[in-house]
Amino acid sequence: MLTDLITLRETEPEDIRLLLDTAQSFKEILERPVKKVPTLRGRQVVTLFYEASTRTRVSFENAAKIMSADTTSVAAASSSVQKGESLLDTARNLRAMRIDCLVMRHPQSGAAHLVAQALDIPVVNAGDGMHEHPTQALLDMLTIRQHKGRLEGLTVAIVGDITHSRVARSNLWGLTKMGAKVRFVAPATLLPRDVHRLPVEVYTDLRKGIEGADVVMALRLQQERMERGLLPSLREYSQRWGVNAKALEVTKPDCIVMHPGPMNRGVEIADDVADSGRSVILEQVTNGVAIRMAVLYHLLGGEASA
């Protein structure tokens, strides 16, 4: 049984399947005129975000509220963190207020793991540095499953800044556990060392990397990569690795296109793809709420069946 959700690398396939199935059944609640169920009434969920976020934070808070939990959000910029309080002390103080669940995002890899070890309540990793972002991968998998009816046997090409991407890592573990094949496609300077030793096919050429793919997922490219000398220019990147309609000619005809957001239109993804019928980017966002409802439900002592 799940006690925390920190990584998909360490999450059992049965638990991943359970979360996906639960989220699927919860989706219906989101379509109701009155979006409220009493499931988590009286429970306190705190979101502790040390990094900017729109999607993930609102998604978690709405998920908690739909299930009638009370939510408090702490932004590091306006908290004791500014006074030099350590992460562990901040977390322990929140726990001392008898909260029931902590959802946290942090720029350092391993931050959620550190807190989860110190607290006796469920901790949900909403993104830690370059490490993992498990709920993003779960919502990606749910979206793929809705479109393809399955995950097993599919080929998913993840294109972009693999080195710095927690989304790529979580999707790699989650998708391979569910029987999909994963490819990483990136310029050599954005591939981490020894990536070939992971269960993944690695490409530096976009066309070869997405050929025959069922799903293409473009990752956000940050301006900082140019500043650190990892890439020559946005222009060269978008020409060589940008996902556009022309490039997608080599995929399966029914290939869908995903993006974890926020998008840099014209860089890693072209308008003719982002706004096309192949794009499932907004469905990902909707599914994000359902996934987070499922995660909170199971971590806060929900029954094994929804």
């Binding site: 690398r9 350590s86 992460l87 562990l88 942090h106 350092q108 890899s109 391993g110 931050a111 793991h113 550190l114 830690d128 540095g129 370059m130 490490h131 993992e132 927690r166 890592r169 981490p192 060392r193 020894d194 990536v195 030793r197 992971l198």
Partner: protein, 429 residues
């Protein structure tokens, strides 16, 4: 007072001795290694039965951070030397990255005064090669040497400028000082916190590539050849570095090298779970590197095993992995980890290990000790090679607890350490 160690397994590689014998010392020096010590057993005299125990020249650690002055909450002279003798070390060389740093004669003198007052092991200060350990401006090495510095180093602040290194080596060489270098090209390790490789990739951490160490090992060896200055490479961690040092020695460069127990006993997988007690610089590498380091120890490429004892307070290590400071404590585990990993496994003889931890360190910096030759300092370590014990950081003499060996079951326990004829550490003896 005279002390007689009776019936010990005496292991002194400096004289090729590896046999059962008695060792007699007075309050200053070794008097004799003999089959029959009865003629010495007169007057005031302690006789210690050493049956089943190994007696060696006191271990010497070339690389210790005592943290005093400035960081006494991590360690100080009293706790650091207490940890040293509890690990079988009778002497340690201490690094200059204190606050203030060991870059002025007055700081060295102040430190040595503290050692006289509260230290239980011999302490040999290593001075900074540049003022404030900053990139420019050589220290007054002649005055530092007079004050007691035994070498100069850039440890913790590796020199990036080859020009500064060159002038530092030229200046040190004329004074007969060895330059000890921490080899790391910082342009390759920006924001990095562990070895670059599969483990860092899985953990999402920025890695320090092995080549960052190796390019500086190569540069520094070449500079040693060019200037003729004696160079000691600190904490070798990669297979490539071993190969480069082997080449430099073949070319006749006056180069020596050390490694640490963790570089042959652990790989970067010890960092899994964001274990900050396995975070140090250079970082833990791969099994191939461990194997190459053992090979380098066996063929003499690596002269010495040091600890790079680097204490940090618990709250400093209880942080996000990338934010936690580099370094682990090692004084109280070094001998047992080495004995367990190298001698118990049959990879290395006991006398070779004693050579790496006592005789060679003495040779590297021409320090007293490292031998039991009559007339040499009465610095002695006594080990129980068969004693199994479990590492419990809570029991360390060191103020700090940051060890990656917590809970390890080890073989080989220091049971008595003598410095200058005085038994400064006893465990059940």
């Amino acid at each position: 007072m005279r002390t007689i160690f009776r019936n010990a397994h005496v292991c002194d590689p400096s004289q090729g001795i590896d046999k059962i014998a008695d060792v007699v010392v007075d309050e200053v020096k070794v008097l004799a290694i003999t089959e029959d010590s009865t003629p010495y057993d007169v007057g005031s005299c302690e006789v210690i039965d050493c049956s089943g125990l190994v007696l060696t020249p006191g271990l010497i650690d070339l690389h210790v951070h005592l943290r005093e002055p400035g960081y006494e909450y991590k360690e100080d002279v009293a706790s650091g030397t207490a940890a040293a003798v509890a690990g079988g070390f009778s002497a340690v060389c201490c690094m200059p990255n204190t606050d203030p740093p060991l870059d002025e004669p007055s700081v060295i003198r102040g430190l040595l005064k503290r050692v006289e007052e509260v230290g239980v092991a011999r302490v040999y200060p290593v001075a900074a090669i540049t003022k404030g350990l900053q990139p420019e401006g050589l220290t007054e090495m002649a005055a530092l040497k007079e004050a007691g510095a035994v070498a100069v180093t850039d440890d913790a602040y590796p020199l990036q400028s080859a020009e500064v290194l060159r002038r530092g080596m030229e200046y040190a060489a004329q004074l007969g000082l060895t330059v000890m270098t921490h080899c790391e090209d910082k342009s390759l390790t920006r924001d990095a916190c562990m070895n670059e490789g599969l483990t860092a990739t899985i953990m999402g951490l920025r890695g320090m590539p092995s080549v960052a160490e190796e390019v500086q090992v190569a540069r520094n060896c070449l500079m040693s050849l060019y200037t003729g200055c004696r160079l000691h490479i600190l904490h070798v961690s990669t297979a490539g570095a071993v190969r480069i040092i082997r080449w430099a020695k073949e070319k006749g460069a006056p180069v020596t090298a050390e490694t640490c127990p963790h570089y042959f006993a652990l790989t970067d997988e010890a960092c899994m779970g964001y274990n900050t007690s396995a975070k140090m610089n250079p970082p833990l590498r791969t099994q191939q590197d461990c194997d190459a380091i053992i090979e380098g120890l066996l063929d003499g490429t690596i002269d010495a095993i040091a600890t790079d004892h680097a204490p940090h307070a618990s709250h400093e290590k209880a942080q996000e992995f990338a934010l936690a400071p580099f370094g682990i404590v090692g004084l109280e585990t070094a001998f047992a980890v080495s004995y367990t990993e190298l001698v118990s496994t049959g990879k290395m003889s006991l006398s070779a290990l004693v050579d790496k931890m006592s005789c060679q360190p003495a040779k590297v910096l021409a320090l007293p000790g490292g031998t039991l030759r009559p007339g040499s300092p009465a610095d002695i370590s006594l080990f129980d090679p068969n004693r199994k014990w479990t590492v419990r950081a809570g029991e360390f003499r060191s103020k700090s607890r940051n060890t990656p060996f917590e809970g390890w079951e080890l073989r080989g326990k220091p049971v008595l350490t003598m410095v200058g004829g005085r038994a400064v550490y006893r465990h059940g003896m």
